[in-house]
C-alpha cells in the first residue's frame, strides 16, 4: 500500500491546514471498469458511511450528522469530508475535504460517478486540489507532484478494491 506509506511520510511533514492556497490547482482522474450492474456499484459508492467496505486505506468511518464523515486511516490520521451532492439520476457523488489530515493537499474536492458500460459499469473518480504548501517554492513532500501522487494513489488503490468488492472476488 504505497498510499499508506505516503500518508505516513506526509503526516510528519505537515504542520497543519490553512484556508488559503496558491494559484495552481492540480487534478487527479482515474477510472475502472467493473463487471457489475451500475445500480449495484452506485449503491456501494453512495453509502456515505460505508467507504471502509471498499477502500483499503480506510479502517473505519465515523458519521457526524448526515453529511460529515471522518475517515480513520489504517496508516494513521483522520480525514474529515463533507458530502455536497448525491445525485441518483447521474449516479454522481460530490464531496470535499474539510480537514485533509495527513494527505498533502489543500482545498480538495472530488466527484465519483458511475455510468453503464456494456453489461457492466465504468466508475470515474475526479479530484481537484492544491498542494499542501501555500507559498512559493514548496519542499518536495508538499509539492504539486506530491499532492498528485498521493491522490492518484488513493484513487487507484480504492478503485482497484472497489472492483474486487463489487465483482464479489
Amino acid at each position: 500500500m504505497s498510499f499508506i506509506r505516503l500518508i505516513a511520510v506526509a503526516a510528519l511533514a505537515l504542520p497543519g491546514l490553512a484556508v488559503a492556497h496558491g494559484p495552481t490547482r492540480q487534478k487527479a482522474v482515474e477510472a475502472v471498469e467493473i463487471a457489475a450492474p451500475p445500480a449495484a456499484v452506485w449503491a456501494l459508492i453512495k453509502d456515505w458511511g460505508g467507504m471502509a467496505k471498499w477502500h483499503p486505506a480506510v479502517g473505519e468511518v465515523a458519521l457526524n450528522g448526515t453529511t460529515e464523515r471522518i475517515l480513520k486511516l489504517k496508516g494513521g490520521g483522520n480525514v474529515v469530508e463533507e458530502l455536497e451532492v448525491v445525485d441518483d439520476g447521474s449516479m454522481t457523488l460530490r464531496y470535499r475535504m474539510k480537514d485533509s489530515g495527513p494527505v498533502p493537499v489543500n482545498n480538495y474536492s472530488a466527484a465519483i460517478s458511475v455510468v453503464a458500460q456494456g453489461s457492466g459499469s465504468l466508475v470515474q473518480w475526479k479530484g481537484a486540489f492544491y498542494r499542501a504548501y501555500l507559498n512559493n517554492d514548496p519542499p518536495p513532500e508538499q509539492s504539486d507532484e506530491a499532492a498528485v501522487k498521493a491522490i492518484t494513489g488513493i484513487y487507484k488503490s480504492g478503485l482497484e478494491n472497489l472492483k474486487k468488492v463489487a465483482e464479489g472476488k
Binding site: 488559503a20 496558491g22 494559484p23 495552481t24 487534478k27 474536492s109 475526479k126 507559498n135 512559493n136
Partner: protein
C-alpha cells in the same frame, strides 16, 4: 530568480495538433493574406480565443467559428500560465505565468510566443489597457499590482496591495484599475494616472474574478467562498456617501468569473459544474445551465459565451440569446483562461 527586465527568447509555435488541423489553420492565414491586394497584413481575421493551459505550460489559440469545428493550435508559454489579456489592436495576448513568475507575450497573427519577461513572484490576474498602452498584473505572493508598459513590458511601477490580489479590470477609458483583493475581502479602485488607491469596498468572501458590464456602469465580482456575485455601482464606489453594492446575487458553488453578452451576465460556477445566467437590467437569475466540469475562464465575443472546463480540458460555446450549447473545442492540460481571453472581431 531572473531579474525583472530580463528577456528570454523562446522557440516559435509548438504545433501539437493533428497535421490536418495545422494545415487548415495555415491555409486560413494564407487565404486572408492572399485576399488583400495591398499585401503584408499579418493578422488572422476573425474572432479568436486564447486560453491558458496551466498544466501544459501553453496557450490554446482557437479560431472561433460557432457553426463549424474551430481550429486550435497550442503554443508554449511560461510555467503554469493562469491569466490572459488580449489586445485587439496589436493582436497580441499577454499571459501571466503563475509558476514561471513571468509574463509571456504571444503574437496571435503568427501563433508564436514573442518573449517572456520575469515579473514578480506570483503573477495571476492580468489586464491590458489600450489607452495608456499598459499591462496590469496582480501579484498573488508579493501582494502588489505591477504596472508594465505594453510593448516590451518595462516596469512602470509596483503598487502595494493587500493579501492575495487576484482579478484585475481596467475601465474602457483607462482611468481606473479595479482589483479583487481576495484575502482582504475588498475590491480596490486605483487611479491609473497617479497610481494611488482611491477606495476600497467590502464585498463577499474571497473575491476572485471581476468584470465591468458593457456600459461600464457596474462592476461584477465573484465571491468564491460566499457563492455569490457583488454587483457594484462604479460611481458609488468613489462617492463617500454612495452605496456602492447594488446587489449581492447568489450563484452556484464557488464562482470564478463573469462575462457579458445579450444583456446578460454569465457566471462560471467552478464547483457547481454550471453557469448562472443573470439579466443585467433586472438582476434576476434567468437560468442555471448545467454544462461542464469545473467551469472557470469565461468570456464572450458578443454572440457566443465561451466557457473553459478545467476538468474536461475543453471550451464550450453557449449561444447568448438561446442559451443553447453550440460547439466544444479541445484544449490543453488544466486550462483556466482567467481574464479577457476572447478577441472579438
Amino acid at each position: 530568480m531572473r531579474p525583472v527586465g530580463s528577456v528570454q527568447q523562446l522557440p516559435s509555435a509548438r504545433w501539437l495538433l493533428r497535421p490536418a488541423a495545422v494545415v487548415a489553420f495555415t491555409l486560413c492565414i494564407c487565404a486572408v493574406n492572399a485576399s488583400n491586394a495591398v499585401g503584408a497584413p499579418t493578422a488572422v481575421a476573425g474572432p479568436l480565443a486564447v486560453v491558458s493551459n496551466q498544466g501544459g505550460d501553453s496557450v490554446s489559440i482557437v479560431r472561433l467559428a460557432p457553426e463549424k469545428t474551430p481550429e486550435v493550435r497550442e503554443v508554449a508559454v511560461g510555467r503554469a500560465p493562469a491569466g490572459v489579456a488580449v489586445d485587439a489592436r496589436s493582436r497580441r495576448a499577454f499571459v501571466s505565468n503563475a509558476e514561471g513568475r513571468s509574463v509571456s507575450v504571444v503574437n496571435l497573427a503568427t501563433g508564436s510566443t514573442v518573449f517572456e519577461r520575469a515579473v514578480g513572484a506570483g503573477p495571476v490576474g492580468i489586464a491590458h489597457d489600450p489607452v495608456r498602452q499598459r499591462v496590469y498584473v496582480a501579484d498573488w505572493y508579493r501582494n502588489s499590482l505591477w504596472v508594465l508598459q505594453d510593448s516590451a513590458l518595462a516596469v512602470v511601477a509596483e503598487v502595494p496591495l493587500g493579501k492575495a490580489p487576484a482579478g484585475v479590470e481596467v475601465s474602457a477609458d483607462g482611468t481606473r484599475i479595479y482589483v479583487a483583493e481576495r484575502c482582504v475581502v475588498v475590491v480596490s479602485v486605483i487611479d491609473s494616472a497617479s497610481l494611488q488607491m482611491l477606495h476600497r469596498n467590502a464585498v463577499g468572501s474571497h473575491p476572485f474574478g471581476l468584470r465591468l458590464a458593457p456600459d461600464g456602469g457596474s462592476l461584477w465580482v465573484t465571491n468564491v467562498l460566499s457563492h455569490d456575485v457583488s454587483v457594484i455601482d462604479v460611481t458609488g464606489l468613489e462617492s463617500a456617501a454612495g452605496r456602492a453594492v447594488l446587489a449581492t446575487l447568489p450563484v452556484g458553488h464557488r464562482p470564478y468569473c463573469v462575462a457579458f453578452a445579450a444583456g446578460r451576465a454569465f457566471v462560471s460556477n467552478q464547483y457547481g459544474d454550471s453557469v448562472s445566467v443573470i439579466d443585467v437590467a433586472t438582476l434576476k437569475t434567468v437560468a442555471t445551465l448545467p454544462l461542464v466540469a469545473y467551469p472557470e475562464g469565461i468570456d464572450s465575443d458578443g454572440k457566443t459565451v465561451w466557457v473553459v472546463s478545467w476538468m474536461d480540458e475543453q471550451m464550450v460555446g453557449i449561444d447568448a440569446a438561446t442559451l443553447a450549447r453550440t460547439v466544444t473545442v479541445p484544449l490543453g492540460r488544466n486550462p483556466r483562461g482567467f481574464g479577457r481571453f476572447v478577441l472579438a472581431e
